[in-house]
Symmetry: C2
């Protein structure tokens, strides 16, 4: 009835597939590996309650008033300090802008860089939230294949020379949806290919802190070597997603443009949440808290991988994540994953079929499993049900 009013951009943007699946999985009997919810253990509830009372007493009306678009100085300072310490970045708070979750970071980057038809390089598969966000800016996606060690370098060279993308969006750590991490060697090769190109490289890193195997962090692609690098981070997976607080680190000139885009998008992110998280971070040991989350996720990932090894048919492949929240399953060529989804729902287990993670999904035989939101026994039971469903397709 209103179709004639709707913009071309929105008519070409699919509603989130996952949000549709979540409706099916409202049934509490269904074991859901479909979401991407952090385990509530990652919310430091007691500490946050102390912090909220403290900021109410300490700052009064300020925590309820309008605030600056760039975000709370103390929170931006914490982020700048952490990245300086971890990565030796030469940055100040002027290089940091707070966003309403990482999803808004994607929206703002779309606003600032993407004109209709601009080529944007993405991983194949990529984060569906990015595909959705940039779809609204009418990007032309050019996907590059992923291997176990990161981007396929030959495919990367082909895409770069054929399409000259303006923006590349990569998730080098515990990628969503695959759970894969680019090796150091792969990152160096990627940078060699792109370093002389006219290309803005966005590295999204919501899961980087959740490395539960191989303690050493791997540096970002082109770390401290390129002004055209943009880094995204988030408190969603290590403190709380409900506050919707993420951030962008970039060159000041880029941040300035993102600030204008953010003014137009929501004026500023909720300031109460910024005071709360800032107070929490300065009064608690974040790294100690992250250790607790990692320990749990390691156990949960091991439970899922172990169960898949035991119960899945041998021809089914899956990733063995060293961090993050997901494993990516590749079924026998030609298996219809949507048919599997229907069988799985009958057996009361849910997952995300691979489709929404591809730019042009066709004959998809992949699926995403999340292991962070169920205990070990539930994970095992769910995988057994899924294995039974696999036997029927």
């Amino acid at each position: 009835m209103f179709n004639r009013f709707f913009s071309k951009r929105i008519k070409n943007t699919p509603p989130s597939f996952i949000r549709e699946i979540l409706k099916v999985t409202q049934n509490p009997e269904i074991i859901s590996f479909a979401g991407g919810l952090p385990n509530p253990v990652s919310f430091p509830q007691e500490e946050l309650k102390i912090s909220m009372n403290r900021i109410a007493d300490k700052y009064g009306a300020k925590i309820y008033q309008y605030s600056t678009t760039m975000g709370l100085d103390s929170l931006r300072q914490y982020i700048a300090d952490r990245y300086k310490k971890l990565w030796g970045m030469d940055i100040t708070i002027e290089n940091v802008i707070i966003t309403t979750g990482s999803q808004q970071a994607l929206d703002l980057i779309g606003k600032v860089f993407v004109d209709e038809g601009d080529n944007v390089m993405v991983e194949k598969p990529s984060y569906l939230g990015l595909l959705q966000a940039f779809c609204l800016y009418q990007a032309n996606f050019v996907p590059v294949s992923l291997n176990d060690d990161g981007l396929d370098i030959d495919d990367l060279k082909r895409v770069i020379s054929e399409y000259k993308p303006k923006v590349a969006y990569l998730i080098p750590n515990f990628q969503n949806p695959t759970g894969l991490t680019y090796t150091l060697e792969n990152r160096e090769k990627v940078f060699d290919v792109i370093k002389d190109e006219d290309l803005i490289l966005v590295q999204d890193d919501p899961y980087g802190e959740l490395r539960f195997e191989d303690a050493e962090r791997i540096p970002y692609i082109g770390l401290n070597k390129s002004d055209k690098n943009i880094y995204l981070g988030s408190f969603s997976k290590i403190v709380t997603p409900g506050m919707r607080l993420g951030y962008i680190i970039a060159n000041k000139e880029i941040i300035k443009m993102l600030e204008t885009a953010k003014q137009a998008s929501d004026l500023h992110s909720n300031i109460f949440g910024q005071y709360l998280i800032s107070d929490y971070l300065y009064n608690n040991d974040l790294d100690k808290h992250i250790e607790k989350i990692k320990k749990l996720y390691k156990t949960q990932a091991a439970a899922m991988v172990g169960a898949m090894e035991e119960y899945f048919p041998k021809e089914v492949k899956f990733t063995r994540p060293k961090g993050g929240m997901f494993s990516w399953v590749t079924l026998k060529e030609g298996t219809d994953v949507l048919k599997l989804f229907d069988r799985a729902i009958e057996k009361k287990v849910a997952f995300v079929p691979g489709h929404p993670f591809y730019v042009n999904p066709q004959s998809v035989n992949t699926l995403r499993l999340n292991y962070t939101n169920a205990d070990e026994n539930t994970i095992k039971t769910g995988i057994i049900r899924l294995a039974e469903a696999l036997g029927e397709v």
Copy 2:
């Protein structure tokens, strides 16, 4: 250095003029009428502190977890109930979507309705946040003149027949920046002109609850007579702006599209804030709280209007608001308001020159004054300073 990367849309979007002015007014000696900040009396701080502890105890992890794009059911129910009661609207929570402040509502409406070059009707002058938001979607603005009683009907007819706008954006109550309110008669005439047009009418209403004179509310344009009406509301001016919580009420088909746009924009608005405001609303008397704000703003508005009557030269015109937060001043034809701004800053008083509220500002002799964020004496002192500055231009 990065100019070649930036999108056409962002290069055409001006940074917020007001945010630039706010930097000048950081000096505590300056009396600022430039902002649009609610008086902190409008934040029920004690009650919110009780509510935050209650929701922490009652809902646990839920207040920190990811949540639904549409928003918290209980909050949407409160809004639906209030609009049913106040306006007899036949709506359910399916007609309500929560947004990250009203500014996000504007961004989402731009995403969903505006293609490059689409004609969007706005008031002259209009809210600068709308101009900025829709600029990013490359709208072609078609302004309609405002008179003391609302839209200029002849100008409206001309614009409608000449441009056939797809979307109209109006602020019928205590308009920003002018403080004007459309009369009932004007609203009826406006509806007569547009009712058979293919036009989405957005009525933004952040100030409607703040009617401190003439107790009776005036119904929206085309209230309950058009499926093409979209209503915006906000908790920013009556509870707290810092939480960034607003909402859109519209036909379900439109809400569905806005939901997809919101998924891509920030997944959902901060859920802690939604639980908090919802708990506050169900456990306190909002109308009683609003009475307190209105009483204060009435005194503050009277102080400003009284001082302007006493000290401003007779040829200076200004609006006498019956609610909301602003008065709009029109200087003698040909006066350079930017020159006045410089003189005013020297005398330590600030305001917003009219420019950012116009689509094509030229020879602007208007300015906006905010009276909600200073006490009566400060307002008087500020107006005296401004009158002195007026004597020098």
